[in-house]
Amino acid sequence: MTGRCTPGQWVEVERVLLEPADRSENLPEDTAAQPLRMWVKGFARSEAALGDEVEVETMTGRVVLGTLTEVEPGYTHTFGKPAPELTRVGRDLRERVAAYRAREAVHKAGE
């Protein structure tokens, strides 16, 4: 990620939609204390550095003004490490099903 975008580059911008004072009534305290923020991606309409105001043209063609937060934003979410609480589940349950079927087979043979 570079710190600047050029016109036409795919970027992400952020805008504050509502300051805390303008937010809905009846919000929990923790939410009410925070601004309502918005992020959207689009093609930069001019050159800008991270933190600068810049207009973007979104996928639907809307023009949105916001603060440049990322140039060529991607995705980094993963599957992560295995959960130790789950690693034995498959083996244990297959053994249980096999044991049940063996019992049933004996039961049926004895009928």
Binding site: P28, T31, V40, G42, G61, F79, Y100
Partner: protein, 470 residues
């Protein structure tokens, strides 16, 4: 910008009337009652029309699979003669990976027929990807508005994955921090673009789900000689329960029990910035399931087509840990690696099948896709990073937002009954409150409330009398 929210909310009626593609005022009957069936039929599409629209859109006709290994697992610890046969409708086989394709398909069809240039939906769930996918096929523009982050800009990996999928299908994704003002921002976008509001709760959306209940009843009859004795439905906003039950009825499966199931997230506040990332399930949970069942008209349409209490025979809750455990079991025993949220009903079904005689048949009516972010490992890693205690143990010790307890054996998967009587009373109280103090329900209102709670006018009158005495 003070006043902007008030200004947009003041024009809400006009914006929504244009954006919804139908006039809801025609169905109002009184401060309580409205013509539900009239509203559901107003789009003019028969079930056959809807099936044809969905076929053209690549939606539906998903595989119905018998889960013989899961069934035998349950029978290995059920009382003799117990352990129902378990089946699943593999809705993950839809193009965007969930049953939500059915829900999106009719709205998108209507948008194209009526000449809208695009569609907008507010959702952090699979519905966004479904709308984006169907919109792409229909050559329509699409905006998905998501509640995606807490105030630290930290997002659930499950939601981030759904942002990605919507963008993969060419949608503009507007990501917001926590708060109900998402709705006023959606209004601004509808006003700015003139697009159709593809609400989850429109008659279009819920009619599209009827094909799911209809298909599974027919497929079960072909496979076992009869419709299922029980269908288990993951329940949040109520559309899944409503549409599936209506589809079952259309197929003549009137004796099938409709069992809704949600993940228990009691104690967590859905509008709280800090609670937002302390839950591992972003849908299919009681945080939506209870408020939407007890007051459906809180939705983004004047009258919600999803009215779960009309159709629910039983409501079961399961813990997050139980669902993760069953998600792992399903992959290892049946070769079906699917997303955890969609497996909420699967966890409840495992518990239900144990109570039922072995000749009973239980259909879990959906699955959803899984992948990076949505996967149960990703979810558990994220929960740990948020300070949630994850451990193996007895799921009865589960406290939502504090811990996630993974069962150590399948016997520990025990769904809990959420009392329907309490939900019905709460719904009737809400209906009376919204009608206003001093309003006396008419006979038509009592009939409506009876239908909306799957009871009788006598039961409704009894509940009203008790509420008045309180």
């Amino acid at each position: 910008m003070p006043g902007r929210t008030e200004e947009i909310l003041a024009r809400k009626g006009d914006i929504m009337k244009r954006a919804l593609g139908m006039d809801y005022a025609a169905f109002e009957r009184s401060p309580i009652a409205f013509d539900y069936e009239g509203m559901m039929a107003a789009h003019g599409y028969s079930l056959e029309d809807i099936i044809a629209i969905q076929r053209a859109g690549g939606v539906g006709k998903t595989p119905l699979l018998e889960l013989r290994n899961m069934t035998d697992l349950v029978r290995s610890y059920a009382e003799p003669g117990h352990g129902a046969r378990i089946f699943v409708k593999d809705e993950a086989a839809n193009m965007a990976g969930s049953f939500k394709d059915r829900r999106a398909s009719i709205s998108i069809h209507v948008a194209r027929e009526k000449g809208y240039e695009g569609v907008i939906a507010a959702t952090s769930g699979n519905y966004g990807a479904a709308v984006a996918s169907q919109a792409a096929r229909a050559s329509l523009a699409c905006i998905i508005v998501q509640e995606a982050f807490d105030s630290r800009h930290v997002g659930q990996p499950e939601i981030i994955e759904k942002s990605r999928l919507c963008e993969a299908f060419g949608a503009e994704v507007v990501q917001l921090t926590v708060g109900p003002e998402l709705f006023s921002h959606m209004l601004e976008l509808l006003d700015e673009t003139g697009y159709l509001a593809a609400s989850l709760y429109s008659a279009f959306g819920v009619s599209g789900i009827e094909t799911l209940g209809y298909e599974l009843a027919q497929e079960m009859t072909a496979l076992t000689g009869a419709p299922p004795t029980h269908v288990v439905v993951t329940h949040a906003g109520g559309g899944n329960t409503t549409g599936t039950a209506r589809g079952l009825a259309r197929a003549g499966a009137t004796s099938t029990q409709v069992v809704s199931a949600s993940v228990d997230l009691s104690g967590l506040h859905m509008a709280s910035d800090t609670d937002f990332n302390r839950k591992s399930f972003t849908t299919g949970h009681t945080g939506f399931g209870v408020p939407f069942a007890t007051w459906p008209d809180r939705a983004d349409v004047p009258r919600n087509a999803a009215r779960a209490l009309r159709y629910m025979d039983r409501y079961l809750t399961v813990s997050q840990g139980e669902v993760f455990y069953v998600t792992e079991a399903l992959a290892k025993l049946e070769g079906l690696e699917r997303g955890p949220s969609g497996n909420t009903a699967m966890a409840a079904a495992l518990s239900l099948a144990r109570e039922l005689p072995s000749k009973a048949t239980v259909v879990v009516q959906e699955t959803e896709y899984t992948g990076a972010g949505k996967h149960h490992w990703a979810q558990l890693n994220f929960a740990r990073a948020q300070g949630i205690e994850v451990r193996a143990g007895d799921p009865a010790e589960n406290v939502p937002g504090k811990n996630i307890i993974i069962p150590t054996s399948p016997e520990q998967v025990r769904a809990k009954d959420f009392p329907l009587a309490k939900m019905r009373r709460s719904y009737i109280r809400n209906a009376l409150d919204h009608a206003g103090a001093g309003y006396t329900p008419t006979d038509e209102d009592l009939e409506f409330l009876a239908a909306d709670t799957k009871t009788t006018p006598d039961v409704v009158e009894e509940i009203i009398a008790k509420l008045k005495a309180e």
